[in-house]
Symmetry: C2
Subunit: 338 residues, 2 copies
């Protein structure tokens, strides 16, 4: 195994609206310590890792809402240096582990659903990604405090960095002298082929993706409103795995997915399904619980070659001159009926 | 079921290099008659339906090669009128069944891997699609006559029509007065998200896709050259289903896939896997054999609405301004390593 890495998805179990930041940080630090003790070089954490998944709530108290973001301005410096979460990043650096971590970002000018990839060697941010495909709506379904809403379009701006791959230079020496090419997606992005392909076109070998995916919220999905909780859970897991496996395969890359899982507040269930998927679309490791859990695998980046050089040789088989519709905008335009 | 249709995939079993055109036509006619007798309104046939899958052979005899194409020039008129295959299309029209059929097309100026969609009401070609994503190579792996090659890039030009959806006006009255929106793909195209999304952006409700997919040819795929026949078959079926289910789900459309299946010439095995997949990515019907077989289901096109209006509302959630890489060309461009 010429370019082997030991990687992990750090699944995080229930984080309630009432869970303190101190408790969350302690749990995250325990996960990164556990990974380091097993020789893991890269750990992927979920979306909005430091708090509960707040876009499910219709929050009218601006002070509460403000607590769900990390503040990154010229004054504060990068998120790794901000007082609320610095302790976590300091541990990762001390343990020399690369981490991808998702969080609500407030720049003072805009709020984004963000993930940073931080070098374990230097503690520096190697890349920042802002979620492009925000699901849901700006207005809540109803004002019942128990409803699971999906208000990302209310609380975040769509990501404005596009899909910029980068080299994890921190892992260069572990990888036969060639730094891994890494891409980042967040939650709903994994259902959209466009982001994956933008990364495929940059030769990405490892795709990192954290998520919060509700296990029961028929009002969000439409369709059968009387679906059982068991069936809804099964469907959500099926769709999650289907898109990750298919897009990893068709872009010949590994993917590490990390879930915020479990039943938040005792009434907002989230699926687990933290996985490591190989470039042929196979699940090589998968979470077994809905709690804090490390999912670990050794992967060989050379396994990306088969797909990238043959079946999914993008330079050889794609026909970009025929894909104009993909960038046209204007939404769906059906052919006229007679 | 407001917009219900009865549809079928017509799987076609072994067609050897030595199988006569007359035998193939008789089998295809039997399939379309069987479908009509069960009230089916649309039947999807495989890729290169009228002949064996000739791109697997390195053919040096131009006369033999010429026999694998249908000739469509200004003189001959559309394929439905050409003498070699007219009998099949006449039967479909007499039975009032829509058909999609794949074939090698020779226009006198170029050769394409083509599929036509023909109205059962009028016998007219409603749409012609030419395969865009030609797999394989122009040169053979070796000159052994028993080798399974993949020479589509030698025998065909890439499709030049793009991905143009159309209305199957023939089915309008069966569909609550609104003609189904249909898209066409051929074989390897189903592995490429770009074509599916071009159709999704035109509101496609039924995607028709015929294929010939080898069940054992490690020399084509790379990777483990000592893979067992059982494992290779399992992998090929896994990838086939994975991409069809994922792309049907992420574009909220039904998909009908029709295989040329079985062991051609006793040495070139093809997978079956003819299926009807719903807009949530579930297989609703699937072939049970590797022979001639009809796979039939009643589908309700209104089932596309849930995805198209919510999770995969393409107009609402996509960000085309960030997808520039998809149409840039120039192949894969990795970020520089330090």
């Amino acid at each position: 195994m010429a370019r082997a890495l030991k990687v992990a998805a750090a699944q995080v179990g229930p984080v309630h609206r009432s869970t303190s930041r101190a408790e969350v940080l302690a749990r995250l630090i325990k996960l990164v310590e556990g990974a380091a003790s097993q020789g893991v070089q890269l750990v992927v954490f979920p979306e909005t890792t430091f708090t509960t998944f707040f876009p499910r709530y219709y929050i009218t108290d601006d002070k509460e809402l403000a607590n769900y973001y990390e503040y990154e301005t010229e004054e504060t410096g990068p998120v790794t240096e901000t007082k609320n979460v610095k302790e976590f990043f300091d541990h990762a650096k001390a343990l020399c582990v690369d981490v991808q971590v998702g969080y609500g970002e407030d720049t003072g000018k805009g709020r984004y659903n963000t993930a940073v990839y931080v070098s374990g060697a230097t503690g520096k941010v190697l890349n920042k990604y802002r979620k492009v495909h925000l699901p849901g709506s700006t207005e809540p379904f109803d004002l019942e405090p128990t409803t699971t809403n999906q208000l990302e379009k209310r609380y975040f701006l769509p990501g404005n960095f596009g899909f910029q791959a980068f080299r994890a230079s921190s892992l260069k020496e572990h990888c036969g002298g060639t730094s891994p090419i890494v891409g980042q997606l967040i939650c709903n992005d994994r259902r959209w082929a466009e982001g994956w392909r933008c990364y495929g076109l940059q030769g990405v070998e490892i795709l990192c993706c954290g998520y919060n995916t509700t296990a029961y919220a028929p009002q969000l999905w439409g369709g059968d409103q009387n679906i059982s909780r068991e069936k809804a859970y099964e469907e959500a897991m099926f769709h999650h795995k289907l898109v990750v496996q298919a897009h990893a395969y068709t872009n010949s890359m590994f993917c590490i997915t990390a879930a915020r899982a479990g039943n938040d507040d005792g009434r907002h269930p989230l699926i687990p399904g933290s996985m490591i998927v190989d470039p042929e679309g196979h699940i090589v490791a998968e979470s077994k619980t809905e709690d804090d859990e490390l999912v670990i695998a050794v992967i060989d980046l050379d396994d990306c070659k088969q797909g990238k050089e043959r079946t999914f040789n993008l330079g050889k088989h794609r026909r970009p001159e025929l894909y104009g519709r993909l960038v046209e905008g204007g939404g769906v335009q059906p052919p006229p009926d007679e």
